[in-house]
Amino acid sequence: MSFGQILAKRVGYGLVLLIAVVVLNFTLITIAPGDVADAIAGDMGGADASVLAEIRQRYGLDQPFMSQLWRYLSSVAVMDLGYSYFYNTPVTELILQRLPATLLLIFSSQILAISVGVLLGVMAARKPNSLVNLCVTFLSLFGFAAPVFWTGILLIILFVSVYPVFPVGGMMNAALIDASFFEQSINIAYHLVLPMVTLASIYLALYSRLTRASMQEVLGSDYIRTARAKGLRENKVFYKHALKNSLGPLVTVAGLQFSAVMSGAVVVEAVFNWPGLGTLALQAILARDTPTIMGILFFSSLVVIVVNIITDLVLRMIDPRIRAE
């Protein structure tokens, strides 16, 4: 199958998945007790039955289920995710506003986790009985077992309260709204450090362990033995051959983990008040802003599907074994 055909197949399938997600979310929210009208009424300070009926009519909530579902699906198809009564903004706009912050957090933490993780893993694989190896083992255990919000809170206590080095939360000092892009970026970076490190901590552990295991496996293989026998320098053997071939599992895991990374991001954003999709989701849930909730669920599923497709394609490119399929 050609690349294009594979891509088309994946994308097509992804679309089907997406529609299924939307239907599931919509159904769930419809069968749950209470609806948008209650939420709107509650927010207004209460409303009697006639006002509730009026609200329901205005939002089309008195229509039969299938027609509501169809309406929602067709609007989603044109990327109109509805209107958030709570924020008084179209959901799509709301999500796009918050998206960059979350992306920044996720990607910076993943880059940190991958680069430091691979480095540590490689060092540990190279010297199996060293301190580094022990550190990697310990780190990986801590990374998995420590609840991410606990790590975040500990970091806050340490670096904001006891030693006030970093700001307590948020993304940028709002007073800098007119400052230069450069100044703003520095300030954002300053705010980014603690949340980024917190989110990276889980995956750093995972990636370093994975790299180490993967390297160990590759190092024991015939391929490497041959390279060594050929007289290639140890460094070259190590980095060019072993590392390249151990990246496959890393990419797979990194891609598959994306859904978990997003969950982690939600919690980290809550701890640090980082204005991304996670805090938006939490606020929307606490305010029962169903259009926004559905929009975020849809959007994150979309991102996961896209990342899965990309991971799949990247894997095909770097791992010759799969290409042969």
Binding site: A41, G169, A175
Partner: protein, 524 residues
């Protein structure tokens, strides 16, 4: 390092003080004030939305007719003078002559009439302008408000966020004012500050209105209101100087902690008009709670002392009635139901609720609407266990769920915090009036309490301007309520305004806390 920071701050403050000792107390113009607000406002127009989340930014954007000083004296604002007729049935308001909206259009009596109509039709507090029959506009700067009966709450209702003067030429376009786009963007207001940016969930940024009708004001160039719902985050930010001011701080731990900080002024002055009372509300039509003996027993079991000392750390005044202790109408002589577990047990025994083999008589549920109320609801569980009531704490994932439960009477007991809003007519009557048992409306008479004498008292007190008469009537009201206990008041929310001593001047000078124009606040 924190200590070093603090002493550095203190040293700088002293130096600054010495440097400007000649003009130490004179307001300076300029600068950006960074303050915190605790919830995201849905939009910024207080004319169609209640709540301080909208009120704090809203009162900067929109002016009202009057404003009140710390002594509960009404001061001129958009109204440079006013007059109440002898029979109390008409109030004449004279507007400032040169006031304009943010877009330059003059503010006239037509806008006042329009605003009153809009508030009357859309604002949840129906009692504010219910007696208004018409607003006449004999000339561009005079409005005559005609009433169906004397309305003692009118002047208060014309201040702060309760009557925002909105532009008729914007809101009179036929769109529903509750969802009008100008509520959040391109806001055209009448107040001391204009809107720069409103990023929901993040901040509201305001800048000086150069055409503000009060000369020389506002002092500040800009106000940045950061939306920070987390108590600890705000506390840290205030201590580090990231925030210079924060209003409506009520977390006891924060208050105690921040008070220890030499550079922070933590003042509870100025919240008397908000009048927040926290109580344990009973659904008087629920099975067990319809028996007043049960309610009395619970009242004897709840230990106000413990709550105020341990949970509130001594920061909150005790509230014995549904009227705020800071109100001139408060009656502190009512039955206090000081904690007496033996008596509570006796009452329940005598009323026929025997203890089962597990020591329990019956079960009740308790709700709470938002996280700050949780500790008080949780307190009830072990405390009422001591008199044989098995309490189940029900959580609601979100405010609307709780609001729906309470307003549809699907509850036994709930913790609640309700504001007096200055005059009992506005915020107190709604809790006890038989007419206000409205299904689906939160903060109505959700206790389903009904007493003819109470209704009569409130009717009379709401129709006379005579303060002595009103005091007597409200005293009787509070005595009856303390006997019938549709709810059990516990404490008044300890709202404080926290501001940086070295950075901020005139932090609070009104009875409405920070839900008031900050035009006189300045940066040192």
């Amino acid at each position: 390092m924190k200590l070093a920071f603090k002493s550095l701050f203190a040293a700088t403050a002293v130096a600054a003080l010495m440097a400007t000792s000649a003009t130490a107390d004179e307001p300076k113009t300029g600068g950006t004030l960074t303050m915190a607000i605790q919830q995201t406002p849905r939009h910024l127009n207080p004319a169609v939305q209640s709540g301080t989340a909208t009120g704090v930014p809203g009162t900067q954007l929109f002016a009202s007719l009057l404003r009140y000083d710390e002594g509960w004296e009404p001061q001129p604002y958009l109204a440079e003078s006013w007059d109440v007729s002898a029979d109390g049935l008409s109030v004449t308001v004279n507007l400032v002559k040169d006031a304009v909206f943010h877009d330059g259009v003059p503010i006239t009596s037509d806008d006042v009439a329009f605003s009153i109509d809009t508030v009357k039709a859309n604002h949840p507090f129906k009692s504010m302008f219910a007696p208004v029959t018409e607003v006449a506009t004999p000339d561009a700067h005079t409005a005559v408000i005609k009433l169906s009966k004397p309305h003692p709450a009118l002047l208060l209702a014309m201040s702060s966020q309760l009557l925002a003067i909105i532009p008729k030429h914007i809101y009179g376009d036929g769109q529903d004012p509750k969802t009008h786009p100008a509520n959040s963007e391109n806001v055209v207001g009448s107040g001391p500050f204009k809107l720069v940016e409103f990023k929901k969930g993040e901040h509201v940024i305001l800048e000086r209105n150069e055409n503000y009708f009060m000369d020389g004001l506002p002092y500040l160039d800009r106000i940045v209101m950061r939306i920070m719902p987390d108590d600890s985050t705000r506390a840290i930010a205030l201590e580090s100087g990231e925030l210079q001011m924060s209003g409506f701080e009520s977390s006891p731990r924060n208050i105690v902690r921040l008070k220890k900080n030499a550079d922070l002024k933590v003042s509870n002055a100025g919240y008397a008009a908000i009048g927040p009372v926290n109580w344990l509300a009973f659904n008087t039509r629920a099975e067990k709670l319809s028996d007043p003996m049960v309610r009395k027993a619970i009242a004897y079991a709840v230990d106000r002392e413990f709550i105020n000392k341990a949970l509130n750390m001594g920061t909150a005044p005790t509230a014995l009635t549904g009227i705020h202790p800071g109100s001139p109408f408060y009656d502190e002589t009512v039955e206090a139901y000081d904690v007496d577990l033996a008596k509570a047990n006796q009452i329940l025994d005598a009323a026929g609720y025997g203890k089962g083999s597990d020591g329990m008589r019956f079960g009740l549920s308790i709700d709470y609407g938002w996280p700050a109320m949780k500790p008080y609801a949780e307190y009830m569980k072990p405390q009422l266990k001591k008199i044989g009531i098995n309490v189940t704490v029900r959580s609601s994932a979100d405010f609307p769920t709780w609001a729906k439960r309470i307003s549809t009477w699907d509850f036994d007991m709930t913790m609640d915090n309700v504001f007096n809003w200055g005059d009992p007519v506005i915020g107190v009557h709604r809790t006890y009036s038989s007419d206000n048992i409205k299904e689906g409306v939160i903060w109505s008479n959700t206790q389903q309490y009904s007493n003819d004498r109470v209704d009569a008292i409130m009717e009379e007190a709401g129709a006379t301007n005579d303060p002595a008469k009103r005091t007597a009537l409200y005293a009787e009201l509070q005595q009856i309520l303390a006997d019938e206990l549709p709810l059990y008041p516990i404490f008044a929310s300890p709202y404080h305004t926290v501001s940086s001593i070295s950075a901020v001047g005139n932090a609070s000078d009104s009875i409405w806390g920070t839900s008031t124009p900050l035009d006189r606040v300045y940066l040192k």
